[in-house]
């Protein structure tokens, strides 16, 4: 029996998953590493590219510093906005709570570069508000481009993450803790800093890391609004696409540096959050109070104000999409119509199909693999499965641009050529999004007592039947909720896809990007409106599927 058990279905699945990760993740990453220390012409071992990056006068180290500056600033700003928002939202009665929650989630769901792009359309050189203010007051607004613009775009997009994390943590704070602290004379703002913040610290740290990592790896925002303010994902892209001459090996070297840095930050965060780790479970959730008249006004102003500030620019894109434009697409004319939609329709159709085909395919693979991996990790702990677990988590700390370039290096030659196909995008998406879905699947499975599966076995069900008929149906609700959120990140994926797409595999999000870069604003807005529609529909489906109204990210 020992032997028979060693070779059951799950062992084959373990081997299959391990093989897939070695081929599609480890191999490209190793190739990336090799290319980073290999001379482009002679193939000899060299540290030239790393030297070049850190060169005092002509190097690119400053882009790293830029990235850090922007990411730290964005983390600080989102925490300053998100934590008080979550606190007020949890402590006080707010009109339209559910609507507000949905809007906050929507703010975070747009494609990363679209936020930046909409700010450019509003406050850029030829932006709508810029022009208005100039016409009315004759004042020239300060430039939106560069550090300030990136910070604005990142903060308005990422504060919902902090809000959701901290709101989740506050849900686990027992009301009696707050009452106890009031009893001992610690109230109001003092209690906020002395009790509430420390109680939410693990979530605040986790949210902070999330924001930091996303800011650091973001390619779309600095590309749209950064202009001269270069961050390293943009450099990787430029070295690859070659606006100023390409160099794959140099791009590889930058990618390696980026991974090392994110890995260090990740480990630091792990270390610090372990020190803060504790578990809470609220028997009595916080009772929301009604604030006084003035307080109430400012609470609503703050909460709704933030939503308006971060979502209004996107609505502006929708409005803009109906403007009549000149034939080239970049001069606005009087009147409104669907003409932009008509113009982009020939491109839109295939792009929508590609979105469903590529993102949908990736989603299905992600769900299946995540369920299998989580089963192996939770129910069948052994060395091989631990390795699979670790491998599936590695992409969590790898910026999308790095995955993109690794994919190209792994699969543009040799026996398995995938560049230009839809598969390479599917693979990149799977790798990138797997960590999140695996984590949520593991959490779901850990809630299911193993005795349920044992009961099935004792009733004569085979291993396959037990998994198929019992485990999957019990997991599916929890996993589906996470999967729908994953779908949103897939259809708005840019940083890796932008290096991997071809004219045959262009998705809706990439189409918007291409139109934006091409300068045909109104048409880009039309395409982006369709994309926004998709995210809203997804969110509606999510709220139907997830039985409770809570949205987790």
């Amino acid at each position: 029996m020992r032997k028979a058990r060693k070779w059951d279905m799950w062992v084959l699945i373990s081997i299959g998953l391990l093989g897939a990760y070695i081929l599609f993740m480890l191999y490209p990453m190793i190739k990336l590493l090799i290319n980073s220390v290999r001379d482009e012409n002679t193939g000899a071992l060299t540290l030239r590219y790393f030297q070049r990056f850190f060169d005092k006068d002509h190097g690119y180290a400053y882009t790293l510093i830029n990235s850090f500056k922007v990411s730290i600033a964005a983390t600080a700003v989102t925490l300053l906005i998100g934590v008080p928002m979550a606190y007020l939202y949890s402590m006080y009665e707010v009109r339209g709570r559910n609507f507000l929650m949905v809007m906050i989630v929507l703010c975070s769901m747009s494609a990363p570069f679209l936020g930046a792009y909409s700010w450019v359309l509003l406050l850029g050189r030829a932006g709508a508000i810029t022009k208005l203010i100039k016409a009315w007051f004759g004042v020239r607004l300060p430039s939106i481009y560069g550090f300030g613009g990136i910070l604005l775009a990142l903060s308005t997009k990422l504060f919902p993450l902090v809000f959701m994390y901290v709101n989740g943590a506050l849900k686990n704070v027992d009301n009696s803790l707050l009452e106890a602290s009031s009893n001992m004379g610690c109230k109001g703002i003092k209690r906020f800093f002395k009790v509430v913040i420390p109680l939410c610290m693990p979530s605040i740290l986790a949210a902070g890391l999330m924001v930091f990592m996303r800011s650091l790896a973001d390619f779309g925002t600095p590309r749209m609004i950064g202009e001269g303010y270069m961050t390293f994902p943009v450099v990787i892209y430029q070295q690859y696409v070659g606006e100023v001459g390409t160099n794959y090996n140099f791009a590889a070297a930058i990618a390696v540096i980026a991974v090392v840095i994110t890995a260090v930050i990740f480990l630091l965060q792990k270390w610090s959050s372990n020190r803060f780790a504790f578990t809470m479970n609220a028997l009595h959730p916080i009772e929301r109070r009604k604030a006084g008249k003035v307080g109430n006004f400012f609470i609503h102003l703050f909460l709704y104000g933030m939503v308006v500030i971060s979502y209004a620019p996107q609505l502006f894109l929708v409005y803009y999409s109906f403007h009549n434009v000149s034939r080239t697409g970049n001069i606005i004319k009087k009147g409104y119509s669907f003409m932009n939609y008509q113009t982009v329709w020939p491109d839109l159709g295939p792009a929508i199909w590609n979105t469903f085909r590529i993102c949908g395919g990736a989603l299905i693979i992600i769900i299946i693999m995540a369920m299998l991996i989580s089963y192996l990790v939770v129910r069948r702990r052994n060395l091989v499965n631990n390795v699979i677990d670790t491998m599936s988590m590695i992409p969590y700390i790898i910026p999308g641009a790095v995955i993109g370039i690794a994919m190209i290096m792994g699969f543009n030659s040799g026996s398995l050529v995938l560049t230009g196909t839809a598969w390479i995008m599917v693979v990149a998406m799977c790798i990138r999004r797997m960590p999140y879905t695996v984590r949520s699947s593991v959490a779901v499975l850990q809630q299911i007592p193993i005795t349920v599966e044992e009961a099935a076995a004792s009733l004569g069900a085979s291993k396959f039947k037990t998994f198929w008929k019992i485990t999957i149906p019990m997991m599916i609700n929890g996993v589906a909720a996470g999967a729908i959120m994953t779908w949103v990140t897939l259809i708005t994926e840019l940083s890796s896809s932008v290096m991997l797409y071809s004219y045959k595999t262009i998705t809706l999000n990439l189409l918007v990007y291409v139109l934006v870069v091409g300068g045909t604003d109104a048409r880009a807005c039309a395409a982006s409106t369709i994309l926004t529609l998709f995210t809203i529909i997804t969110l509606v489906i999510y709220m139907k599927v997830a039985k409770n109204k809570e949205i987790s990210m």
Binding site: M1, T451, A455, A457, S458, L459, A461
Partner: protein, 361 residues
């Protein structure tokens, strides 16, 4: 049905940690057999070895003459009832009960009648189309039992099935379990840490401690003639007093500080002058009014519980004992009052000084 379970020299290890060193037991066909012991004694581990959910590091397990060591759990034909019920939450009550039958690939009408039979037997027919989370704990337990029994297993295994129920329901359900088991005559292995529950349902009980069976016997035997000091203290309440054996007439007696209780049922190993552990249950002391017979003590505490009254009495030798007497109509003995007690010699148990062995023949 009616299968004998035979376990020879079972060994269970987790790494280097030995949970069950060497355990053998025969469970008779149709018997209601209970594994009883404190938590961590290995009783659930043993049950899960029988079920096939735990690996077996050594020894042989037989159902009848079929060796099951290497048999997958799904092929052992066991019905298992879990502590947390382990009901499939996404299936209706009826589908839960039918699940095992469907795995047998039986014809549809056979599944239908069999499911019906057990739904009726467990009185859950009216809930058959509900999802389990709409049922109370007792109802869920009935579903779990119906599901386990519907496949007509050779062996029914139950892992603390009543521990999640409230006290009243626990008593009700244990009667249901006992009744059904009697009716079907199915060999049953039952795990619990609750000795009262074990006594109420079992034909025989194995008392376990540290992976070793201390004694196997009927409830009456375990209570009245425990094999060692552990069993005597684990089953029911008792007062353990270190005493000496003295000569009394032709035989030996236990010396309670001047008051000697003659023992005519001691084994050959008992010798004069030997230090022993006397286990005297609270009801085996009798408070007496007769002047100078018995052992003297002072009442320190009394609790009136209706049928009985409990006293804590400090003996002259300094030991404190618990005594249970049927409540009397006159006043309860006051705190501080002096009493004399005799001991029912034929009921008490005598163990060697280390408690490992009974000295009763």
């Amino acid at each position: 049905m009616n299968v004998e379970i035979k376990i020879n020299h079972a060994l269970k290890k987790y790494g280097e940690n030995v949970i069950i060193p060497d355990l053998s037991v025969d469970i008779k066909p149709g018997e209601f057999f209970t594994l009883l012991g404190p938590s961590g004694c290995g009783k659930t581990t043993l049950l899960r070895m029988i079920a096939g959910f735990n690996s077996i590091e050594g020894g042989d397990f037989y159902f009848g003459d079929r060796r099951i060591n290497d048999l997958d759990p799904s092929k052992r034909n066991i019905g298992m009832v879990f502590q947390n019920y382990a009901i499939f939450p996404h299936l209706t009550v009826k589908k839960n009960v039918a699940f095992g039958l469907q795995n047998r690939k039986l014809p549809k009408d056979k599944i239908e009648t069999q499911t019906e039979k057990f739904l009726n037997m467990m009185k859950i027919k009216e809930y058959q189309d509900r999802l389990p989370d709409r049922l109370s704990g007792g109802q869920q337990q009935r579903v779990a039992l119906a599901r386990a029994l519907a496949i007509e297993p050779d062996v029914l295994l139950m892992d603390e099935p009543l521990s999640n129920l409230d006290a009243k329901l626990r008593v009700e359900m244990r009667e249901v379990i006992k009744e059904i088991q009697n009716e079907l005559g199915i060999t049953t292995v039952y795990v619990t840490h609750d000795q009262e529950e074990a006594m109420a349902v079992s034909d025989r009980i194995a008392v376990m401690s540290a992976g070793v069976i201390q004694q196997i016997g009927t409830p009456k035997m375990l209570y009245q003639r425990p094999a060692n000091l552990f069993v005597s203290t684990f089953i029911g309440r008792t007062n353990v007093l270190e005493k000496k054996l003295v000569r009394s007439g032709n035989g030996l007696a236990v010396d309670f500080g001047g008051y000697q209780v003659p023992m005519n049922n001691l084994s050959g190993e008992a010798v004069e002058g030997q230090t022993v552990q006397a286990s005297v249950r609270p009801e085996e002391f009798v408070i007496t009014d007769k002047g100078d017979v018995g052992v003297e003590g002072k009442v320190e505490f009394s609790t009136f519980l209706g049928l009985n009254t409990h006293y804590l009495v400090r003996l002259a030798s300094g030991e404190r004992v618990e005594i249970i007497q049927e409540s009397r109509i006159d006043d309860i003995l006051e705190k501080g009052s002096t009493v004399r007690m005799t001991v029912k010699g034929e009921k008490i148990n005598i163990f060697t000084q280390d408690g490992s062995k009974s000295l009763i023949a």
